[in-house]
Symmetry: C2
Subunit: 202 residues, 2 copies
Protein backbone atom coordinates (compact mmCIF):
# COMPACT_ATOMS: atom_id res chain seq x y z
CA UNK A 1 0.00 0.00 0.00
CA UNK A 2 1.47 3.33 -1.10
CA UNK A 3 1.35 5.47 2.06
CA UNK A 4 3.35 8.70 2.34
CA UNK A 5 1.61 10.20 5.36
CA UNK A 6 0.17 8.64 8.50
CA UNK A 7 -2.10 10.75 10.67
CA UNK A 8 -2.70 9.60 14.24
CA UNK A 9 -5.63 10.87 16.28
CA UNK A 10 -5.66 9.59 19.82
CA UNK A 11 -7.34 9.66 23.19
CA UNK A 12 -5.29 11.30 25.93
CA UNK A 13 -3.18 8.61 27.59
CA UNK A 14 -3.88 5.95 24.95
CA UNK A 15 -0.24 5.89 23.81
CA UNK A 16 -1.08 7.17 20.32
CA UNK A 17 1.68 9.79 20.34
CA UNK A 18 4.29 7.25 21.46
CA UNK A 19 3.10 4.81 18.78
CA UNK A 20 3.55 7.57 16.19
CA UNK A 21 7.00 8.52 17.51
CA UNK A 22 8.34 4.95 17.47
CA UNK A 23 6.76 4.32 14.05
CA UNK A 24 8.48 7.41 12.66
CA UNK A 25 11.85 6.18 13.92
CA UNK A 26 11.39 2.64 12.63
CA UNK A 27 10.00 3.71 9.25
CA UNK A 28 12.36 6.67 8.76
CA UNK A 29 9.39 9.06 8.52
CA UNK A 30 9.46 12.64 9.77
CA UNK A 31 7.43 13.22 12.95
CA UNK A 32 5.21 16.21 13.63
CA UNK A 33 3.40 16.95 16.87
CA UNK A 34 4.26 20.19 18.70
CA UNK A 35 6.74 20.85 15.89
CA UNK A 36 3.83 22.17 13.86
CA UNK A 37 3.32 25.01 16.34
CA UNK A 38 6.84 26.26 15.58
CA UNK A 39 6.11 26.13 11.87
CA UNK A 40 2.85 28.03 12.34
CA UNK A 41 4.67 30.63 14.47
CA UNK A 42 7.29 31.12 11.78
CA UNK A 43 4.71 31.39 9.01
CA UNK A 44 2.22 33.58 10.85
CA UNK A 45 4.48 35.75 12.96
CA UNK A 46 2.39 34.90 16.02
CA UNK A 47 4.06 33.93 19.29
CA UNK A 48 4.23 30.17 19.99
CA UNK A 49 2.58 30.58 23.40
CA UNK A 50 -0.28 32.50 21.80
CA UNK A 51 -0.77 29.73 19.23
CA UNK A 52 -0.68 27.11 21.98
CA UNK A 53 -3.36 28.97 23.88
CA UNK A 54 -5.58 29.27 20.82
CA UNK A 55 -5.07 25.59 20.00
CA UNK A 56 -5.85 24.39 23.49
CA UNK A 57 -9.00 26.40 24.10
CA UNK A 58 -11.05 25.41 21.14
CA UNK A 59 -14.48 25.52 22.67
CA UNK A 60 -17.28 27.05 20.67
CA UNK A 61 -17.20 30.52 22.22
CA UNK A 62 -13.57 30.83 21.18
CA UNK A 63 -14.40 30.49 17.53
CA UNK A 64 -15.60 33.05 15.08
CA UNK A 65 -16.68 30.75 12.30
CA UNK A 66 -17.54 27.12 12.89
CA UNK A 67 -16.47 24.97 9.95
CA UNK A 68 -14.73 27.99 8.48
CA UNK A 69 -11.92 25.81 7.23
CA UNK A 70 -14.29 24.59 4.54
CA UNK A 71 -15.16 28.00 3.29
CA UNK A 72 -12.31 30.39 3.94
CA UNK A 73 -9.73 28.45 1.98
CA UNK A 74 -10.99 30.10 -1.17
CA UNK A 75 -10.09 33.58 -0.01
CA UNK A 76 -7.66 34.90 -2.59
CA UNK A 77 -6.63 37.86 -0.54
CA UNK A 78 -5.94 36.23 2.77
CA UNK A 79 -4.15 39.07 4.53
CA UNK A 80 -6.77 41.63 3.74
CA UNK A 81 -9.76 39.44 4.56
CA UNK A 82 -11.70 40.18 7.69
CA UNK A 83 -10.92 37.09 9.74
CA UNK A 84 -9.57 36.76 13.26
CA UNK A 85 -6.07 35.74 14.30
CA UNK A 86 -7.44 32.46 15.60
CA UNK A 87 -8.96 31.66 12.26
CA UNK A 88 -5.77 32.62 10.47
CA UNK A 89 -3.80 30.22 12.67
CA UNK A 90 -6.07 27.35 11.67
CA UNK A 91 -5.81 28.13 8.00
CA UNK A 92 -2.04 28.51 8.13
CA UNK A 93 -1.74 25.26 10.09
CA UNK A 94 -3.79 23.38 7.53
CA UNK A 95 -1.70 24.78 4.70
CA UNK A 96 1.47 23.74 6.53
CA UNK A 97 0.11 20.21 7.02
CA UNK A 98 -0.68 19.97 3.32
CA UNK A 99 2.77 21.21 2.39
CA UNK A 100 4.51 18.82 4.79
CA UNK A 101 2.98 15.86 3.01
CA UNK A 102 4.53 16.95 -0.28
CA UNK A 103 8.00 16.42 1.14
CA UNK A 104 9.45 13.41 2.99
CA UNK A 105 7.02 10.73 4.27
CA UNK A 106 5.76 11.80 7.66
CA UNK A 107 3.59 11.05 10.67
CA UNK A 108 1.35 13.82 12.02
CA UNK A 109 -0.23 13.68 15.47
CA UNK A 110 -3.65 15.29 15.94
CA UNK A 111 -4.48 18.72 14.51
CA UNK A 112 -7.37 17.35 12.42
CA UNK A 113 -4.76 16.25 9.88
CA UNK A 114 -7.04 13.36 8.85
CA UNK A 115 -9.65 15.90 7.79
CA UNK A 116 -7.22 18.34 6.22
CA UNK A 117 -5.83 15.53 4.04
CA UNK A 118 -9.05 13.64 3.34
CA UNK A 119 -8.71 14.03 -0.43
CA UNK A 120 -5.32 12.31 -0.52
CA UNK A 121 -5.05 8.64 -1.44
CA UNK A 122 -1.53 8.21 -0.04
CA UNK A 123 -2.63 9.13 3.48
CA UNK A 124 -3.49 6.61 6.19
CA UNK A 125 -5.71 7.89 9.03
CA UNK A 126 -5.47 6.02 12.35
CA UNK A 127 -7.36 6.48 15.63
CA UNK A 128 -5.89 5.07 18.87
CA UNK A 129 -7.90 4.59 22.06
CA UNK A 130 -7.77 2.43 25.16
CA UNK A 131 -9.63 1.59 28.34
CA UNK A 132 -9.63 4.09 31.22
CA UNK A 133 -7.46 1.97 33.52
CA UNK A 134 -4.61 1.90 31.00
CA UNK A 135 -4.99 5.61 30.29
CA UNK A 136 -4.79 6.45 33.98
CA UNK A 137 -1.66 4.33 34.44
CA UNK A 138 0.01 5.78 31.36
CA UNK A 139 -0.76 9.40 32.25
CA UNK A 140 0.53 8.93 35.82
CA UNK A 141 3.73 7.22 34.64
CA UNK A 142 4.60 9.23 31.56
CA UNK A 143 3.28 12.69 32.24
CA UNK A 144 3.90 12.64 36.01
CA UNK A 145 0.42 13.99 36.61
CA UNK A 146 -0.97 13.82 40.14
CA UNK A 147 -3.23 10.84 40.75
CA UNK A 148 -5.94 13.05 42.24
CA UNK A 149 -8.74 13.70 39.77
CA UNK A 150 -6.76 11.93 37.05
CA UNK A 151 -9.89 10.48 35.45
CA UNK A 152 -11.46 13.92 35.18
CA UNK A 153 -8.27 15.34 33.70
CA UNK A 154 -8.30 12.62 31.03
CA UNK A 155 -11.99 13.14 30.27
CA UNK A 156 -11.53 16.91 30.01
CA UNK A 157 -8.55 16.55 27.69
CA UNK A 158 -10.54 14.26 25.40
CA UNK A 159 -13.54 16.57 25.56
CA UNK A 160 -11.33 19.46 24.55
CA UNK A 161 -9.93 17.43 21.63
CA UNK A 162 -13.43 16.41 20.60
CA UNK A 163 -14.66 20.03 20.69
CA UNK A 164 -11.69 21.22 18.68
CA UNK A 165 -12.15 18.48 16.07
CA UNK A 166 -15.89 18.98 15.76
CA UNK A 167 -15.64 22.74 15.52
CA UNK A 168 -12.90 22.51 12.97
CA UNK A 169 -14.28 19.72 10.78
CA UNK A 170 -18.01 19.39 11.47
CA UNK A 171 -17.35 15.71 12.23
CA UNK A 172 -17.45 13.76 15.49
CA UNK A 173 -14.00 13.08 16.94
CA UNK A 174 -13.39 9.37 17.40
CA UNK A 175 -16.18 8.38 15.00
CA UNK A 176 -14.95 5.22 13.29
CA UNK A 177 -15.73 6.47 9.82
CA UNK A 178 -13.35 9.44 9.97
CA UNK A 179 -10.41 7.05 10.01
CA UNK A 180 -9.22 4.10 7.94
CA UNK A 181 -8.36 2.06 11.00
CA UNK A 182 -9.10 2.36 14.72
CA UNK A 183 -7.08 0.39 17.25
CA UNK A 184 -7.60 -0.41 20.94
CA UNK A 185 -4.12 -0.14 22.43
CA UNK A 186 -5.35 -1.96 25.55
CA UNK A 187 -6.03 -5.02 23.41
CA UNK A 188 -2.97 -4.96 21.17
CA UNK A 189 -0.42 -3.07 23.28
CA UNK A 190 1.70 -0.25 21.88
CA UNK A 191 4.07 -2.67 20.15
CA UNK A 192 1.11 -4.56 18.71
CA UNK A 193 -0.37 -1.35 17.27
CA UNK A 194 3.00 -0.39 15.79
CA UNK A 195 3.32 -3.78 14.07
CA UNK A 196 -0.25 -3.65 12.73
CA UNK A 197 0.40 -0.25 11.15
CA UNK A 198 3.86 -1.22 9.85
CA UNK A 199 2.39 -4.30 8.18
CA UNK A 200 0.11 -2.05 6.14
CA UNK A 201 3.09 -0.37 4.52
CA UNK A 202 4.93 -3.47 3.34
Amino acid sequence: MNIKTITISREYGSGGRIIGKILSEELGFDFYDKEIVSLVAKESGFNKDYIDEVEEKKDSKFWDNPYMINTVFNFKDFNKSNISNKDKIQIIQSDIIRNLTNNKPCIIIGRCADYVLNDREDVLNIFIYSNMEDKINRVINEYKVDEKDIENIIKNMDKSRANYYEMYTGQKWGNTKNYHMSLDSSKFGLRGCIEIIKNLLD
Copy 2:
Protein backbone atom coordinates in the same frame (compact mmCIF):
# COMPACT_ATOMS: atom_id res chain seq x y z
CA MET B 1 -2.45 -13.32 20.43
CA ASN B 2 -4.71 -16.05 21.84
CA ILE B 3 -8.03 -15.52 20.01
CA LYS B 4 -10.72 -18.21 20.00
CA THR B 5 -13.64 -16.11 18.76
CA ILE B 6 -13.84 -13.26 16.26
CA THR B 7 -17.01 -11.17 16.19
CA ILE B 8 -17.64 -9.06 13.10
CA SER B 9 -20.08 -6.16 13.14
CA ARG B 10 -20.51 -4.52 9.78
CA GLU B 11 -22.29 -1.91 7.74
CA TYR B 12 -24.66 -3.30 5.14
CA GLY B 13 -22.72 -3.77 1.91
CA SER B 14 -19.30 -3.21 3.49
CA GLY B 15 -18.23 -6.79 2.79
CA GLY B 16 -17.94 -7.66 6.51
CA ARG B 17 -19.88 -10.91 6.17
CA ILE B 18 -17.74 -12.05 3.22
CA ILE B 19 -14.58 -11.14 5.13
CA GLY B 20 -15.82 -13.30 8.02
CA LYS B 21 -16.75 -16.19 5.73
CA ILE B 22 -13.37 -16.28 3.96
CA LEU B 23 -11.54 -15.85 7.27
CA SER B 24 -13.42 -18.82 8.73
CA GLU B 25 -12.40 -21.00 5.77
CA GLU B 26 -8.77 -19.92 5.83
CA LEU B 27 -8.42 -20.17 9.61
CA GLY B 28 -10.48 -23.35 9.99
CA PHE B 29 -12.91 -21.56 12.32
CA ASP B 30 -16.63 -22.31 12.48
CA PHE B 31 -18.83 -19.61 10.94
CA TYR B 32 -22.11 -18.34 12.38
CA ASP B 33 -24.44 -15.85 10.76
CA LYS B 34 -28.00 -16.99 9.98
CA GLU B 35 -27.00 -20.38 11.44
CA ILE B 36 -27.66 -18.90 14.87
CA VAL B 37 -31.36 -18.48 14.02
CA SER B 38 -31.62 -22.25 13.52
CA LEU B 39 -29.96 -22.85 16.86
CA VAL B 40 -32.32 -20.41 18.58
CA ALA B 41 -35.31 -22.11 16.90
CA LYS B 42 -34.14 -25.52 18.13
CA GLU B 43 -33.53 -24.27 21.66
CA SER B 44 -36.65 -22.14 22.02
CA GLY B 45 -39.18 -24.10 20.01
CA PHE B 46 -40.09 -20.93 18.11
CA ASN B 47 -40.46 -20.98 14.34
CA LYS B 48 -37.42 -19.70 12.38
CA ASP B 49 -39.55 -17.19 10.45
CA TYR B 50 -40.94 -15.83 13.71
CA ILE B 51 -37.42 -15.40 15.09
CA ASP B 52 -36.33 -13.69 11.88
CA GLU B 53 -39.22 -11.27 12.16
CA VAL B 54 -38.43 -10.45 15.77
CA GLU B 55 -34.74 -10.01 14.96
CA GLU B 56 -35.35 -7.74 12.00
CA LYS B 57 -37.85 -5.39 13.60
CA LYS B 58 -35.94 -4.29 16.61
CA ASP B 59 -37.21 -0.76 16.89
CA SER B 60 -38.06 0.52 20.33
CA LYS B 61 -41.80 -0.11 20.23
CA PHE B 62 -41.09 -3.77 19.54
CA TRP B 63 -39.29 -4.18 22.81
CA ASP B 64 -40.63 -4.77 26.23
CA ASN B 65 -37.54 -4.02 28.23
CA PRO B 66 -34.72 -1.95 26.81
CA TYR B 67 -31.36 -3.21 28.02
CA MET B 68 -33.13 -6.19 29.53
CA ILE B 69 -30.27 -8.42 28.57
CA ASN B 70 -28.32 -6.87 31.42
CA THR B 71 -30.90 -7.59 34.02
CA VAL B 72 -32.88 -10.65 33.05
CA PHE B 73 -29.90 -12.96 32.82
CA ASN B 74 -30.09 -13.47 36.55
CA PHE B 75 -33.53 -15.00 36.42
CA LYS B 76 -33.12 -18.48 37.85
CA ASP B 77 -36.50 -19.67 36.77
CA PHE B 78 -36.51 -18.59 33.16
CA ASN B 79 -39.59 -20.49 31.94
CA LYS B 80 -41.83 -19.24 34.68
CA SER B 81 -40.70 -15.65 34.57
CA ASN B 82 -43.03 -13.07 33.11
CA ILE B 83 -41.12 -12.05 30.02
CA SER B 84 -42.23 -11.92 26.38
CA ASN B 85 -41.30 -14.34 23.61
CA LYS B 86 -39.19 -11.64 22.00
CA ASP B 87 -37.20 -11.16 25.16
CA LYS B 88 -36.77 -14.91 25.54
CA ILE B 89 -35.36 -15.11 22.03
CA GLN B 90 -32.71 -12.52 22.86
CA ILE B 91 -31.71 -14.28 26.04
CA ILE B 92 -31.56 -17.69 24.38
CA GLN B 93 -29.52 -16.25 21.51
CA SER B 94 -27.02 -14.71 23.89
CA ASP B 95 -26.70 -17.98 25.79
CA ILE B 96 -26.14 -19.81 22.51
CA ILE B 97 -23.42 -17.32 21.49
CA ARG B 98 -21.70 -17.83 24.83
CA ASN B 99 -21.90 -21.59 24.49
CA LEU B 100 -20.59 -21.57 20.92
CA THR B 101 -17.40 -19.89 22.05
CA ASN B 102 -16.71 -22.72 24.46
CA ASN B 103 -16.37 -25.15 21.57
CA LYS B 104 -14.31 -24.86 18.39
CA PRO B 105 -12.86 -21.45 17.46
CA CYS B 106 -15.49 -19.48 15.57
CA ILE B 107 -16.46 -16.30 13.78
CA ILE B 108 -19.81 -14.72 14.61
CA ILE B 109 -21.45 -12.10 12.39
CA GLY B 110 -23.57 -9.40 14.06
CA ARG B 111 -26.10 -10.22 16.80
CA CYS B 112 -24.35 -7.97 19.34
CA ALA B 113 -21.89 -10.80 19.91
CA ASP B 114 -19.19 -8.24 20.79
CA TYR B 115 -21.35 -7.07 23.69
CA VAL B 116 -22.47 -10.53 24.75
CA LEU B 117 -18.81 -11.63 24.97
CA ASN B 118 -17.30 -8.43 26.34
CA ASP B 119 -15.94 -10.14 29.44
CA ARG B 120 -13.89 -12.65 27.43
CA GLU B 121 -10.19 -12.04 26.82
CA ASP B 122 -9.93 -14.55 23.95
CA VAL B 123 -12.46 -12.65 21.84
CA LEU B 124 -11.55 -10.17 19.09
CA ASN B 125 -14.25 -7.64 18.16
CA ILE B 126 -14.03 -6.14 14.66
CA PHE B 127 -16.14 -3.48 12.93
CA ILE B 128 -16.12 -3.24 9.11
CA TYR B 129 -17.38 -0.21 7.19
CA SER B 130 -16.81 1.40 3.81
CA ASN B 131 -17.75 4.38 1.71
CA MET B 132 -21.23 4.60 0.18
CA GLU B 133 -20.06 4.12 -3.40
CA ASP B 134 -18.48 0.76 -2.60
CA LYS B 135 -21.51 -0.30 -0.57
CA ILE B 136 -23.86 0.51 -3.43
CA ASN B 137 -21.75 -1.44 -5.91
CA ARG B 138 -21.43 -4.43 -3.59
CA VAL B 139 -25.13 -4.57 -2.75
CA ILE B 140 -26.11 -4.35 -6.44
CA ASN B 141 -23.63 -7.05 -7.46
CA GLU B 142 -23.92 -9.49 -4.60
CA TYR B 143 -27.47 -9.17 -3.38
CA LYS B 144 -29.02 -8.44 -6.80
CA VAL B 145 -30.96 -5.54 -5.29
CA ASP B 146 -32.59 -3.06 -7.68
CA GLU B 147 -30.54 0.09 -8.21
CA LYS B 148 -33.53 2.31 -7.48
CA ASP B 149 -33.40 3.74 -3.98
CA ILE B 150 -30.37 1.60 -3.22
CA GLU B 151 -28.80 4.28 -1.02
CA ASN B 152 -31.96 4.50 1.08
CA ILE B 153 -32.09 0.72 1.39
CA ILE B 154 -28.52 0.69 2.68
CA LYS B 155 -29.18 3.53 5.13
CA ASN B 156 -32.33 1.85 6.43
CA MET B 157 -30.55 -1.47 6.92
CA ASP B 158 -27.81 0.23 8.90
CA LYS B 159 -30.36 2.22 10.89
CA SER B 160 -32.15 -0.99 11.76
CA ARG B 161 -28.88 -2.59 12.86
CA ALA B 162 -28.01 0.48 14.91
CA ASN B 163 -31.43 0.47 16.62
CA TYR B 164 -31.16 -3.22 17.39
CA TYR B 165 -27.66 -2.86 18.81
CA GLU B 166 -28.48 0.21 20.89
CA MET B 167 -31.68 -1.29 22.27
CA TYR B 168 -29.95 -4.52 23.10
CA THR B 169 -26.72 -3.17 24.57
CA GLY B 170 -27.26 0.48 25.52
CA GLN B 171 -24.24 1.31 23.34
CA LYS B 172 -23.96 3.11 20.01
CA TRP B 173 -23.52 0.77 17.05
CA GLY B 174 -20.34 1.54 15.12
CA ASN B 175 -18.81 3.52 18.00
CA THR B 176 -15.08 2.83 17.79
CA LYS B 177 -14.76 1.95 21.45
CA ASN B 178 -17.12 -1.05 21.30
CA TYR B 179 -14.59 -2.88 19.12
CA HIS B 180 -10.90 -3.72 19.31
CA MET B 181 -10.32 -2.80 15.69
CA SER B 182 -12.33 -0.97 13.04
CA LEU B 183 -11.41 -1.27 9.37
CA ASP B 184 -12.41 0.69 6.27
CA SER B 185 -12.82 -1.96 3.58
CA SER B 186 -12.76 0.77 0.91
CA LYS B 187 -9.19 1.60 1.92
CA PHE B 188 -7.82 -1.90 2.46
CA GLY B 189 -10.06 -4.03 0.23
CA LEU B 190 -11.65 -7.26 1.44
CA ARG B 191 -8.42 -9.21 1.00
CA GLY B 192 -6.52 -6.48 2.85
CA CYS B 193 -8.94 -6.66 5.80
CA ILE B 194 -8.65 -10.45 5.86
CA GLU B 195 -4.85 -10.27 5.98
CA ILE B 196 -4.88 -7.60 8.72
CA ILE B 197 -7.09 -9.79 10.91
CA LYS B 198 -5.17 -13.00 10.13
CA ASN B 199 -1.91 -11.30 11.11
CA LEU B 200 -3.33 -10.68 14.58
CA LEU B 201 -3.68 -14.39 15.19
CA ASP B 202 -0.15 -15.44 14.29
